[in-house]
Amino acid sequence: MNILCLGVNHESAPVEVRERMAFAHKHLAESLHEIQAIEAIDEVVVLSTCNRVEIYAVAEKLEHGFDRLKEYLDRHFEMQVGELVDFYKLHNESAARHLFSVAGGLDSMVLGETEIFGQVKQAYADSQKAGATARMLNKLFQQAFRAGKLIRSSTELTRGATSVGSVAVDLAEKIFGDLTSCRVMLIGAGDMSRRTAQSLHSRGAKSIIVSNRSYDHAVELAKQMDGKAVHFDNWSDSLDEVDIIVSSTAAPHHVIHAEMISSAMPRRGRQPLFVIDIAVPRDVDPAVGDIENVYLYDIDALEGIAAGTRNDRKKQVAFCEQVLDQFIEERGIEALVPSSGGRPPQTLESTRKPDMDSGSTEALPES
């Protein structure tokens, strides 16, 4: 028996293709039964996310299995004759290694993101519930979860934040710890400040004050976040009440001055104040950052940290690969999947992208 992986991801197919091939969750059980009913296929798991659609299956004959799966996908998604989809086809060791990489976030568009781990778990649970898995895929996916956890716990791949919003949240948590008691003020209700505030809100920040030149706009945003709106002329009156300020007005000059903050600090018990300036030109006088217990970050600083994290994660990839190698070596790939005695199918026409699964010698092209 062989383990097969047939799929497309963010590197091999554009979003137009991926969105067409997405399996609807409410019909997934039905699809799993249809695939399992194919005479060449014994077990199946379908992993369908925004960035990938992958079918993991068990089949006795490798080439035959891939052909039947491909036919099923053509039929299921009503592909036109001659329509080319750049599928990758992996089997046995390379399929297992690919799944371990996926579970560990190594194959994700945002390297090291952790959401994929939950998605793999969900895909496996759905298949198990539908009775579409048995000994081989059960074993493979259990090992994939172990590999994913190992990568997260023994490397720094998931450390830090990769977007401006998540960097702001990370910093807020390093200043205040638990954000549930934090009060946030938005000065300017632009898209960027709204997204940053939403990130903070999602981590527990509850009390949100919105101030905008257009009061109606402030009221609308405050309503969305269970906060309150204040008139733009009066925002400084609320300085004593807040722990985090997110500023993003279109003003051509500084809106928040050092004197304002200096005089507000004793009134607010000299508690830490986190000021996020995402406006260009900047809203906050840089001298604000020199005040004791005030932490000022402008858009360049936040972007710089996010870029640094992305860079650090790239540097971690080689180490993660080593961790995976060691994981596979310790368990023995033969214990996870059948040995790859058979030759890979030879009837494939198109070539795969060279950067796909660079570590795999068994990646198979497909037209």
């Binding site: 716990s153 023994s154 490397t155 720094e156 450390r159 830090g160 910093l171 948590e173 390093k174 200043i175 205040f176 710890g177 600090m265 004793p266 018990g269 000299r270 830490p272 950052g289 004791e292 217990n293 932490y295 970050y297 600083a301 710089g304 940290i305 640094g308 650090d312």
Partner: protein, 259 residues
């Protein structure tokens, strides 16, 4: 045997410190459990050292500067185990280890260069309960104040990284600055309460301590109270509180030096 245990304990703290620093420098995941285990072994051997010396003296083993340093190290690690977890300060051990290491190296050097003081019948005959209470409680209070200084240092490191936007491996391993501020305050409060007990018991001793010793103890007590009052009345912020917690630890060190 007590010296052997002290050497093993010192090696444990040295090993724990080197392991943690290497992990942080390499940017690898910091396994606080391994570090905690090494600290626990160090603490066990330190306890064994104190137990053996206590048996030797038939009293609390604080009869020399070396023993005082060992007792101080022991009280710091004990407080770390009791309070570190509740303050979410897992990395505190990394910062305590070098301080404990320095104290123990001084104690070891003293033992080996001057020879460890042996017990005499005089020690047991002259045992004063108030002296025992004064010395032991004061040393635990110094342990707490030392930890406050260490938590203050951690605050200043984290504050500096946040201000300079240098988010290195240490940044991700250090606790939030609000938690560090709370830890500094609580450790000073615990230290001051114990110091109060220590000072009161000193007045009840058969032989009242030297005026310089008492004067320095009162000065330390007043200085820490003043620091807490300044923070509580919002005259200073967390940065100055942390700087104060670090700087004022000089007073307990002076008290130990004039013993």
């Amino acid at each position: 045997m007590d010296k052997f245990f002290l050497v093993v304990s010192t090696l444990c703290f040295f090993g724990g410190f080197v392991y943690a620093v290497n992990g942080l420098r390499a940017g690898r995941h910091h396994d606080s459990r391994a570090n905690l285990l090494v600290m626990a072994f160090g603490f066990l051997f330190l306890s064994a050292t104190l137990y053996l010396r206590g048996q030797m003296h038939h009293r609390c083993p604080i009869t020399s500067l070396q023993e005082v340093l060992i007792f101080l190290s022991w009280s710091m690690v004990l407080l770390y185990f009791i309070l570190g977890k509740s303050f979410r300060l897992s990395l505190l051990g990394v910062f305590i280890a070098p301080l404990v290491l320095v104290f123990q190296l001084f104690a070891l050097a003293g033992f080996f260069l001057e020879g460890a003081p042996e017990t005499t019948s005089e020690h047991t005959d002259k045992m004063d309960g108030w002296l025992e209470l004064h010395a032991s409680v004061s040393l635990v209070s110094f342990g707490s104040l030392a930890l406050a200084g260490v938590a203050g240092l951690m605050f200043l490191v984290q504050d500096r990284q946040l201000k300079r936007r240098q988010l290195k491996a240490l940044f991700y391993n250090l606790p939030p600055i609000r938690y560090l501020t709370i830890a500094v305050i609580r450790l000073i409060v615990i230290g001051v309460i114990l110091l109060t007990v220590g000072i009161i018991s000193a007045f009840l001793m058969e032989n009242v301590p030297a005026p310089l010793h008492q004067g320095l103890s009162m000065l330390a007590w007043l200085a820490y109270i003043a620091l807490l009052v300044l923070y509580a009345t919002k005259r200073i912020g967390a940065t100055k509180l942390s700087q104060g917690a670090m700087g004022l630890f000089l007073l307990p060190v002076l008290i130990l030096l004039v013993l």
